[in-house]
Symmetry: C2
Amino acid sequence: MITVVLIGAGNVAQHLLLAFQQAKDIKLIQILARHPKELTHLLDTQYITSDYTQLKEADLYIIAVSDNAITSVSSQIPFKNKLVVHTSGSIEMNVLDSKNRKGVFYPLQTFSKIKPVDFNQIPIALEAENDNDYAVLETVANAISPHVYHINSEQRKALHVAAVFVCNFVNHLYKIGNDICIENNVSFELLKPLILETANKIISLSPDEAQTGPAKREDTITINSHLKFLKENNQKELYRLLTQSIIHHGKKL
Amino acid sequence: MITVVLIGAGNVAQHLLLAFQQAKDIKLIQILARHPKELTHLLDTQYITSDYTQLKEADLYIIAVSDNAITSVSSQIPFKNKLVVHTSGSIEMNVLDSKNRKGVFYPLQTFSKIKPVDFNQIPIALEAENDNDYAVLETVANAISPHVYHINSEQRKALHVAAVFVCNFVNHLYKIGNDICIENNVSFELLKPLILETANKIISLSPDEAQTGPAKREDTITINSHLKFLKENNQKELYRLLTQSIIHHGKKL
């Protein structure tokens, strides 16, 4: 039985908390949050503290806080030579305080508090300073997901940047599609099957095979008619740059 | 029983052909293609012609060809006062030759020849010059999909522009994510659950609720570190513009 203490109360911390509650062979013994109230709907107050001096001894401390707080939080853990990891995609392992053994436990998913996620579908990217610590992280990760990968800090950074493109930026394009629908009295519902199919295609086709549309065909008549249709400068600029990028990519192949 | 003649051999024509073959109360009696060979794997040669003078009389002619060929194809139909529709999202109904009755039958989906689609999930946007013709189109559309909408030419254009953002441009962002993975020796497989979840979220959350990431948080440290990490100018430029657009959108709310 591996004992775990979680630090944080945000999206990642809350989803990890729920996953660990259902995992076998992992015992979540405590969670530290600046505002314990944010967690009382998920577990009993006796397991929550806001005081670092009250932290219990555990096999693993998982820091799931915002990137710029990781170093400071890690330095407040009142123990030495414990295994302490963060959950960030973009931050190096080495920002963690050196009095403890370092690692990374990065679940690659987009978390919103209001939507449940199935950890079984989530890849977890792990990094540690030595094999023993890696084995501990692997056991903990395997308890909540079958998709566990050994990823070093440089690879993780690449993954995180790629994730910004395929998730954050993609969602913003959904937002622009939604705006265009609202401005023209069409229901965004009509686009939802297209959105799902576009994502599903990428599971079985490469992005090059899956690419369709006026830019792919270099159909300048349609492209110009769309640019004329768009009224907002920001929408026009994004349309222009993304279209150029598709045409340019096609030429490189 | 409504009789249908299909004109075209591309992605949309082939997927419509397959859908009509399985539809009740709709009889696909002929398909015209410049190169009949492109269709012989789907139906018997006796139903295929490349000669407009051989076109059979039918209740409905569906022109599923590239946008710039629609007018010319419609003028070659050797009949008068028949119902003739095109399947394009971006072209007005009125480009069709005036010797026949006009309409639009626009299935809003991304079609690749190599991947089957379920027409049951596809919205079909219809337009016609009069109620009788609209009723015919509605019967035909309902035979292959439960999602049928009355959409005028202006609304359809908005839908098509929005579809370029949420499908073609989104797929290009998948492509860039894939490039970044390849350049940094990480498997694109790790991103696929994130891609699916990002699409699935939009079914139940608004794009604003679903937005996450460094731009949403205005986390300039991560944003600058990502911009430094990206080596290709095109990737940098897209990252910068999409990040600005997310921050700008957030401020408007």
